[in-house]
Amino acid sequence: MNVRRRLTYILSAAAAALLLLSTGYAQDNGKAGKLKEIIPPGRQAPRPLGPTGPTGVVPRAADGKPDLSGLWNGQRALPGQEGPVMRPWAETLTKERTENYSAEDPEAHCLPGGVPRAIPYHHQIVQTPNLVLILFEGNIHTFRQIFLDRKEHLKNIEPRWYGDSIGHWDGDTLVVDTVGFNDKFWFDMAGHPHTNQLHVIEKYHRRDFGNMEIEVTIDDPETYVKPWITKREASLETAIEMTEYVCNENNSDVLHLVGK
């Protein structure tokens, strides 16, 4: 079914004005620029269609913590950040992937985006005191679980696309610590790689009612000379509802990804 039609799910007539902006943003499947110049993460221009969310008071959960629950628009990287400093092998691999027009990008082949790939689809956060869920509209319609009820990572984790995530509150910021990754996914379309030693720390801060800041620290000494930090924002989606996006139902991307 036509994704554009699905995205015109108007929940509120009052939000109709927002809708034009929001649907435009949501329809950007992130792949329009795939064959153009590759820009390292952190150096992207701000998404021109990404509206900021409504201001207002941060909602609180029953336990007094900020409630991050809600439907969020795709994360956008803030401009003017430093890119990563890669080890030579990673530099070479990224160049190869880029020069091959990102044809091997797992994300485009309906495999999970992994962490912390910023995917331009909606994602819904569901917060409970002991567990936070992130429900992804796409690239595949799946979920992450962030456990707040344990302090230690699982032992002997079979490497995973989304790793093992544990979280805790640092004041009003949700800090998510993740290890146990496989080495299959790319951080971005450019193909920035990692090993299974990857350690990601995400800090989610709901700045006001409709805007969230996400700071991500990527630590993988075998791939990057030093940990690097990427800063992002997401805005609350109030006008439309997340759809059931089934990547492998009608994946036209892959037909265009022919490589060299």
Binding site: T8, P59, S69, L111, V126, Q145, N248
Partner: protein, 213 residues
């Protein structure tokens, strides 16, 4: 003050309802055992599926099972006052959302009338969570034996935690195109203490996906 009031209301509501949270595994046969009151047309479609089960099965291509068909792998229910989420380990490692915020089905027809998992709204009737789902496509199967449904399918599920370790789900299937009358059946799920969902991505494991590398 308003926020505090809302929080208190939510807390009270959460206490007042049964708690379905947990990791659950279907007990016994996950398929529908009774005879569905199929129309002749539905019977024909079912025969076509059965004649070529593997090739016709959406799951062969990592497509969603929909709502009625379940796997023998665990499901996890995460419950909040306004939203219940059902996570699935198997099939597409995806989720269902059951909306308890009072919304209706009014936008389904114009926006997403033909999804695999439909549009689910829910309410509590005592200790029973009653879930009403429409908006289906006609491609999902009702179980692994290829039982079809049409896009007129309407599913009512009644979730009741009969004991701490037992979840009963009574399904009522209505389908004005494929069923001559409503059909009811019940499934039982057992709590799987200590079990957590494993990460399993069909598109990563399935060599039948043409795009798969």
């Amino acid at each position: 003050m308003r926020a505090l009031g809302a929080s208190l209301l939510l807390a009270v509501a959460a206490y007042a309802q049964a708690d379905l949270s947990g990791v659950w595994v279907v007990s016994g046969n996950p398929d529908i055992t009774g005879d569905l009151p199929y129309t002749a047309e539905a019977m024909k479609v079912w025969q076509e599926h059965k004649a070529n089960l593997r090739d016709k099965d959406p799951a062969t291509y990592c497509l969603p099972n929909g709502v009625v068909r379940v796997t023998t792998l665990p499901y996890k229910i995460v419950q909040t006052a306004k939203l219940v989420v059902i996570l699935s380990e198997g099939n597409t490692h995806s989720f269902r959302r059951l909306f308890l915020d009072g919304r209706g089905h009014q936008h389904v027809e114009e926006v997403e009338p033909d999804s695999w998992t439909g549009h689910s709204i829910a309410k509590w009737e005592g200790d029973t969570l009653v879930v009403d789902t429409i908006g289906f496509n006609d491609r999902a199967w009702l179980d692994s034996t290829g039982k079809p449904h049409s896009d007129a399918l309407h599913v009512t599920e009644r979730f009741r935690r009969a004991s701490p370790s037992r979840l009963e789900v009574e399904y009522t299937l209505e389908d004005s195109k494929f069923l001559t009358k409503p059909f009811k059946f019940t499934r039982v799920f057992a709590l799987a203490p200590g079990r957590e969902l494993q990460e399993q991505f069909c598109t990563d494991l399935n060599h039948l996906i043409p795009e798969k590398r």
